[in-house]
Symmetry: C2
Subunit: 481 residues, 2 copies
């Protein structure tokens, strides 16, 4: 997100959506560019994504999570009043008869609705899917109006902080596994935030609004956030200043101890509960060997309304800077927290199911990895083809078709040119440009002798082998490489 | 689709959407059921889906296709007038400022838009994604308003029928691979359909409308289709009867030869072109070894407007009937065809890119496989957890946390209960009910001796091994099983 200055995010989004209306620069004539703020994913994008999503999903599975999916749209009322200030950014569907629908804004609210609807009291699930938000697109930083989220959540009544610690462990495993460079996970607790507001003198009716302002501290300077709180949200200046003292504090478990001694905060029951849980959390994080990655940070607030306990957000300290690479400011790459009240909002009798979870900001991660590959000039193969079927002669289409069907039927990934009489050079060039490692060649001579030539594209070496041994020979070569 | 009688599909959909309005039977109080006509996918659904999609995607990759994705919504104008009678079934987004948008209706039109926008002249791609249609939900037959499509398409100017034959080969590979029982692929050509209409005396302005009627022949009796053509679409009865003679014809390559001799059809240039291509297609299908799966069927019309050449549709002849299993009527499970004009509609200068492709009806396939598993009483594991970390004693949470982190860090899929002091029986029961094969047990004795017990859940055998050998021993056991 660019610096939004003093405009509320929603107003800014509306303004920008006016300014950015099509036609855009790259569009001409009959072709209009695709829906504003979204984009197509090319084969190059898809290869990077597949690799990253594989790593993320295999981590989720390593922790025993089940897969799940929900529809792209929900009843509008399901999504209403769950997201605080951001609710205006929802995509609604047109009323074409039936219920009013909106595109999902995240994967957490649909999960809570699912648990309540199916009366599930315990579940560890992951969900990878698209979500949609009508934000002002800041394309340069990898943000679009349609984007992918990767969520992991643990629902159920358990002993305190054990699932919460596992969520932080998962974030560490994924961020380490992706080799994005150093990272830090900021941790706080909604009860500490609220306790801080209470002891600083924020009226309870303003808690969520002030929480939203504090949440902007990673993108805005304190003086701008303070101005928003005082001028826009009507907070007394001295109350704002008291908050200011707290939100500059961050540190390890020793800061937790220090806050226990804080003369104001220690008077607040909620804050003490939060601090007690954080202390226990740090104990478990130490056993997991990840305490050095975690920072207790009183400026962390998280904008969403539904959090009730521990909250966290992972930031990259820097991206690994290669020669010529600009440092990237990508903001948070993973976040989450505890939301014990959300499921109850959907349950007919209000039964609560405590939940804690995390969301990996894969779009930003895709962007970082793509930028890094671009800088390094790394190329990705967008196909997995292992063998190309070629001929040096005319009128060999029939033989090529028979041969390639044999390869496909043996599970070998194979291509040929869709031409009756392609030139050999064109065929070999295709292999080189697309990275296919092996060519099998059939011509008159080979047909007469009952052999096929196998050519290595890299070494250009060719050997003739018996037709009946072809599949076995290819499989042997592929398993060796 | 249920029998729709004589109502046009759109009117029927509107009527049914009124009748089916919520509240529905399963909804009570505060919980409303999710958006009508869509559904959540449970972990059980997801396991079946993952397996089937893996098989489909690996076939697409075997044929050298690249992955791609497009946004869930397109500009409304992009989708308008591409789908014939079904256009009314589009989901529109509410006008919240900016361009008018609609949810994508299939993956073909977005692909064509992508090719034109990026001036791509040649591409072999697959695309797996959700599409949305406001049809009357016929849930019993596995149809929902949100569903997954798996498309493979070849774009580019190539020698005739080579890519077309590959599309049919792919359909055969996938349907055989999924072991759904016997299947048949009906083939026809839009030019033969149009030629047939012309020689029967259908006015050209009615071609597409009559084509839509013919398309219903797999769900409606000829006399009902005839009535629709005559009473609703104003066709002369004798014209309808002439069509009736043709659409009863189906057979192999010999029927192609027979149609070449047909006194009426052989007078039509378009039809002759189509027949010539089909003859060549059958030659290639024979080389691929799949000609026996293909039937030239003059009743096949395909409802979508954009087809221009060969069209095809795969139907299951019967699902493999197990004891107690009802035969399933699932209709077509894969379909496609050639659409040489679609890309040009999006290109600023109208440049054409010929395309041919196919779409696998995976939702129906999911449904068939799920039904079959249900009948057989087959259970699926919804997690992949390999090892469970247990303790028989109190106050061993810390040791369990250290141990499980070690397993996770070694890439082993591991779980434990989120309780401070769980009972051993509860822990072992969890393994049995979720299918975890191995348990590692740590207690006072083991801690003192520096060992861990490994227990096989199936055999209940336990052995103690040195703590430092634990990961290696687990990996050995997992690789053996």
């Amino acid at each position: 997100m660019p610096l939004l200055g003093l405009l509320p995010r929603r107003a800014w989004a509306a303004l920008l959506s006016q300014l950015l209306r099509p036609p855009c620069a790259s569009c001409t004539g009959a072709v209009r560019c695709q829906s504003q703020g979204t984009r197509d994913l090319s084969p190059q994008h898809m290869v990077v994504r597949e690799k990253i999503l594989d790593l993320v999903i295999s981590c989720f599975k390593r922790h025993g999570a089940k897969g799940m999916d929900t529809p792209a749209f929900e009843l509008k009322e399901t999504l209403t009043e769950k997201y605080g200030e951001d609710s205006g950014l929802m995509y609604d569907l047109k009323d074409q008869g039936g219920e009013l629908l909106s595109l999902r804004y995240d994967l957490t609210v649909p999960f809570a609705r699912y648990l309540a609807m199916n009366k599930v009291k315990k579940m560890k699930r992951y969900h990878v899917g698209k979500v949609w938000r009508r934000e002002s697109p800041a394309i340069v930083q990898g943000r679009y109006r349609e984007f992918c989220q990767c969520d992991f959540d643990i629902a159920g009544q358990f002993d305190p902080m054990i699932p919460d610690a596992e969520c932080l462990k998962i974030m560490c495993e994924i961020l380490s596994g992706l080799q994005l460079g150093d990272f830090l996970i900021k941790v706080n607790d909604r009860r500490i935030v609220d306790g801080m507001f209470a002891v600083c003198g924020v009226p309870e009716s303003k808690f969520r609004a002030i929480c939203s302002s504090i949440d902007k501290l990673d993108k805005m300077a304190w003086k701008d956030v303070r101005h928003e709180m005082v001028a826009k949200k009507g907070l007394a200046p001295e109350v704002a200043d008291r908050i200011g003292d707290y939100v500059q504090c961050h540190g390890g478990v020793s800061l937790v101890e220090q806050m226990f001694q804080d003369p104001r905060l220690s008077q607040n029951k909620q804050a003490l509960e939060g601090l007690g849980d954080l202390k226990l959390l740090f104990e478990y994080l130490t056993l997991f060997g990840i305490a050095d990655k975690i920072s207790f940070d009183l400026s962390l607030a998280r904008g969403l309304d539904y959090y009730t306990g521990v909250i966290y957000e992972a930031v990259l300290l820097q991206t690994p800077i290669q020669a010529g690479e600009d440092p990237l400011n990508v903001g948070s790459v993973a976040a989450g927290g505890r939301y014990d009240g959300l499921v109850g909002m959907f349950h007919p009798k209000g039964h609560k199911v405590p939940c804690v979870g995390l969301s990996i900001g894969v779009e930003r991660i895709f962007y970082i990895v793509e930028q890094r590959m671009k800088t390094k000039g790394e190329k990705v193969r967008t196909t997995e083809t292992q063998v190309f079927v070629a001929t040096p002669q005319k009128n060999f289409l029939q033989e090529r078709l028979k041969l390639i069907a044999e390869l496909w039927d043996s599970g070998i990934k194979a291509e040929m040119l869709y031409k009756n009489n392609p030139k050999l050079l064109t065929q070999l060039h295709y292999c080189e440009s697309t990275g296919i490692p092996l060519v099998v060649i059939i011509g008159e001579q080979e047909l007469k002798e009952g052999v096929i030539k196998i050519r290595s594209v890299a070494s250009r070496e060719e050997v003739a082998i018996k037709r009946e041994n072809l599949v076995a020979e290819i499989q042997k070569r592929l398993s060796e490489s």
